[in-house]
């Protein structure tokens, strides 16, 4: 699955798509592969505050529980409620329909700390090599 060129990425495998001062946040295709069949998602409600680098929710596969970390700080303005009923969308469309939350940025400067697509692709390529060494 291709990593959209306009997205920015974290080392914990989250992505953001920034439009104005609102960032859509999700987890990457690499992350959903690592998790396996996603069966449960727990997300904050609209109005909740998230902080860059801090956990804001949980994604669970049959086997594992994973925390999701906020790439940027701000206020949650929308939550993807569809995922409560259809968490498996995270496996099939992690960069699109399975976005998690939309965040109104409190500090737009934080975006510059994130990886661009080329840097993220290089990052997961080296992570893969380590894992299989």
């Amino acid at each position: 699955m291709a990593y959209p060129a306009q997205y920015r990425y974290t080392k914990q495998h989250e992505w953001i798509d920034l439009k104005g001062d609102v960032a859509t946040v999700g987890i990457t295709d690499y992350a959903q592969h690592e998790l396996g069949d996603v069966v449960f998602v727990e997300l904050p409600k609209s109005g909740a505050k998230v902080s860059a680098g801090k956990s804001f929710g949980t994604v669970e596969s049959v086997k594992a529980v994973s925390e999701i970390f906020a790439p940027i700080s701000g206020e949650v303005v929308e939550t993807n409620g569809d995922l409560e009923k259809t968490p498996e969308k995270i496996n099939t469309d992690p960069h699109g329909a399975a976005w998690l939350i939309k965040v109104k940025l409190s500090d737009p400067k934080e975006v510059s700390a994130l990886m661009d697509t080329a840097a993220y692709e290089a990052f997961i390529a080296s992570a893969g090599k380590d894992a299989h060494a």
Binding site: Q12, H13, E14, I27, A31, H33, E34, L35, G36, D37, V39, F40, E42, T58, V59, E60, S61, V62, K63, A64, V65, S66, E67, I68, F69, E84, H132
Partner: protein, 395 residues
């Protein structure tokens, strides 16, 4: 994303099929010091593997399991006496070719390990033990049988053990052997030519709650890979897929089969684990017996129950169980979504007073109290096959 359930990397042991798993793109994990496949994403992953075993057939590499043979030395009877002394079930009831579930116990009636005891010959027994407890078990068996006239041999590294499991397992294995499998009852075994390998142990056993077979072939890489490939080839028409430890865990949990370090351990006794039906007090003395007789008289402080989540949330291993008031009352030993039932299920230790069916118990999930209910176990039980096929009755 950060996994809360990953383990540190250390030097891991490998089965003879390690290269096969890696070639298939399996996700590998450290399981009790072994580098083992947890699931095979390229053929569908954990849920597909679970469903293959419930619906048709799947194959597991379980070569990490250990094997201890205890056999006669100078006079017959020494091996049986040793097995009777170190395990809680009554091995004198086993016919040659029969196996049973049992356990090795400490003096205080808690678990060294659970085992399958096979009676290979007149005074000849094979104990199949867990991977994570292998070294501990061997040492314990050796030290506790030294006053018996028997020979204890560790054969763990001699075998590659394949578990072919599911309602069509019999069709797959029958294609590979001259032994008559339909005449082999559950928990019985035979020796036959399998995959061209003479005198191979074929047991109608497993850890999935489904019909199935476990075969024990020589552990050199070439033989092991050839056997694996033949099983895959024979199973092709039944949709066989390789299955990892992830599906093995969800399958055994649905069937309420104990896992060492979870439902049973060196601090949990036989009555608490509700495994006393495999503990035979009338067979004579055995290690742990005296303590268990006291436990029987005194009663237990906790008991294993099945839980089903009522509210949204998944109970996981080691989560706390809480009362309505929020007091800690117990602990989840195994918890997972159930792929067969599409519910979130768990096994947990709670006080006997909280064990009645329908009792509401709360599970603490990330500091939240989430409602669950005590339900009957096993969560899943396979339908018993009719002795005569339906079509035969009609004609």
């Amino acid at each position: 994303m950060e996994s809360l359930t990953s383990a540190p990397t250390i030097a891991l042991r490998k089965t003879a099929l390690n290269a096969v798993h890696r070639h298939l793109g399996a996700k590998m994990v450290n399981f009790g010091g072994w580098d083992m496949p947890v699931e095979y994403p390229s053929t569908g992953g954990l849920v597909a593997e679970h469903k293959a075993v419930r619906g048709s057939v799947g194959v597991f590499d379980v070569s990490h399991m250990g094997d201890i043979r205890i056999h006669t030395n100078r006079a017959p009877g020494g091996a049986l006496a040793a097995v009777q002394h170190i395990s809680m079930n009554d091995a004198s009831k086993l016919a040659i070719g029969q196996a049973h579930y049992s356990a090795l116990l400490y003096q205080q009636g808690t678990f060294v390990d659970d085992v399958i005891v096979h009676r290979l010959g007149e005074d000849d027994y094979l104990l199949v033990i867990n991977a994570g407890t292998r070294e501990k078990d061997i040492d314990w068996v050796r030290s506790n049988t030294k006053n018996f006239d028997c020979v204890v041999e560790e054969l763990s590294d001699a075998y590659t053990q394949l578990a072919i499991q599911g309602p069509r397992a019999i069709d797959v294995v029958q294609k590979l052997t001259d032994a008559n499998l339909s005449g082999l009852k559950n928990y019985w075994f035979t020796h036959g030519t399998v995959c061209g390998l003479k005198n191979t142990l074929i047991a109608r056993t497993g850890y999935t709650g489904e019909d199935g077979f476990e075969i024990y072939v020589p552990s050199d890489q070439a033989t092991s890979e050839a056997a694996w490939n033949k099983v895959m080839e024979a199973g092709k028409e039944f949709g066989i897929i390789p299955c990892g430890l992830g599906a093995r865990n969800t399958l055994r949990l649905e069937s309420k089969m104990a896992l060492y370090g979870h439902e049973i351990s060196d601090t949990i006794n036989v009555f608490e684990a509700s495994l006393d039906r495999y503990c035979k007090f009338d067979k004579g003395d055995f290690i742990g017996r005296a303590a268990l007789e006291q436990t029987k008289a005194k009663g237990i402080r906790r008991t294993l129950v099945g839980l089903e989540m009522v509210d949204r949330g998944i109970a996981r291993d080691e989560y706390r169980c809480l009362s309505e008031a929020g007091e800690p009352i117990g602990v989840v030993t195994s918890g997972s979504p159930s792929p067969t039932l599409c519910k979130n299920i768990a096994l947990a230790y709670v006080p006997p007073a909280m064990a009645e069916l329908g009792t509401i118990i709360y599970v603490e999930i990330r500091s939240q109290k989430v409602k669950a209910q005590v339900v009957p176990t096993p969560f899943y039980k396979r339908a018993k096959k009719a002795a005569v096929p339906q079509s035969a009755k009609i004609s």
